[in-house]
Symmetry: C2
Subunit: 207 residues, 2 copies
């Protein structure tokens, strides 16, 4: 079960690492972090780099493609070699998935046209510009094995569903236990619908 | 607000990246990933490396010390230079924190003796060997600014509480909104008390 996660400058690390640490619990999983060239890629803030061990051109297929998001996607939606790679790998996958604004890359590659999909709450218009219909659910499954997850942390929930699709319910529950994912957020501010105006204003003004 | 996260060979990446992507939302946060020497450090499976930009010896203080866990901690509980560094930095912090088996490093450094603390559910005995009393809560706050979180994903919940302590409730809610942390796990298998015997057996036999 080959799982390929493309990474890039300006990634949000948690988009990739949340699903990775869930899916690697599956004995049959083989996860590869790929990028235009092997090496370190800094996240949106620049404080953390993740290392790609494979070049995109050397990855010709995958069972699962998992595209993370981040500020870097603003630039990558016009990166034709990357989009072509996404289309080529997608043709080989059982599941083609995204977390957060990774959905914009699937959209720019033409994979979401006419489908329901989700993304980070702040990028709904961009998603719909690719012909997708935004759905304010945390994980959206569509025919053809396309699964999109909402912002950042929702990749963990998506990965548990993916684990179930790959290896069955017990294996997926084992993944959840391994990462002790029994969430108990101290507030209830994790969606745009639930967050207060004050929290939204804080984000808007942090620059 | 300087937040220092030590990393090492055998880290569980999500232990560090979950809190990082929450806390970096705070405008006043300045996060540094440090290790014995700058450079890449592979996680427990070896498929993903995180990059340290600072050497431990160059980090002499922090407002927040956040120690992640992972298989690598088995070796590090006897790494006296690391433990001495933890003690030295702890003397300068407002909050000294851990995620998952990062608590074993705080314990080995002598910081948990006589305190309540938590860790990954699989390492309770190791934690108690350092004089701590295991508490099956997701986040455990103790006098002196010591906060421990349970396994892996619990670092996200801890980081939201830390964000509140650092910058107040609205700022912490903004962090939660930024990472769209509105968890909806498809199963309820995220704690040892809730998981089925089948899920436990699956983990025990995956090798």
């Amino acid at each position: 079960m080959r799982i390929v996660i493309p990474i890039f400058e300006g990634i949000t690390a948690l988009d990739a690492v949340g699903p990775y640490d869930v899916l690697r619990v599956l004995p049959e999983s083989d996860v590869v972090f790929a990028a235009h060239a092997p090496g370190p890629y800094a996240d949106g803030d620049g404080a953390l780099s993740l290392v790609a061990t494979a070049a995109l051109q050397d990855v010709t297929g995958a069972d699962v493609l998992l595209v993370p998001g981040g500020l870097g996607t603003r630039r990558l939606v016009t990166d034709e070699p990357l989009l072509e790679w996404i289309r080529r790998v997608h043709a080989t996958t059982r599941w083609t998935t995204s977390v957060c604004t990774g959905s914009l890359l699937l959209g720019a590659a033409g994979l979401l046209d006419g489908l329901e999909a989700t993304t980070h709450w702040s990028t709904v218009d961009a998603l719909e510009s690719y012909g997708a219909t935004y759905t304010a659910r945390r994980v959206v499954e569509q025919p053809g094995g396309i699964i999109t997850a909402a912002g950042v942390s929702s990749g963990i929930d998506m990965a548990l569903r993916l684990a179930e699709l790959i290896a069955g319910r017990v294996a997926a529950e084992a993944c959840q236990l391994a990462v002790e994912y029994d969430p108990q957020p101290p507030f209830d501010s994790g969606s745009y619908a639930k967050a207060s105006q004050e929290a939204k204003d804080f984000l808007a003004h942090r620059g």
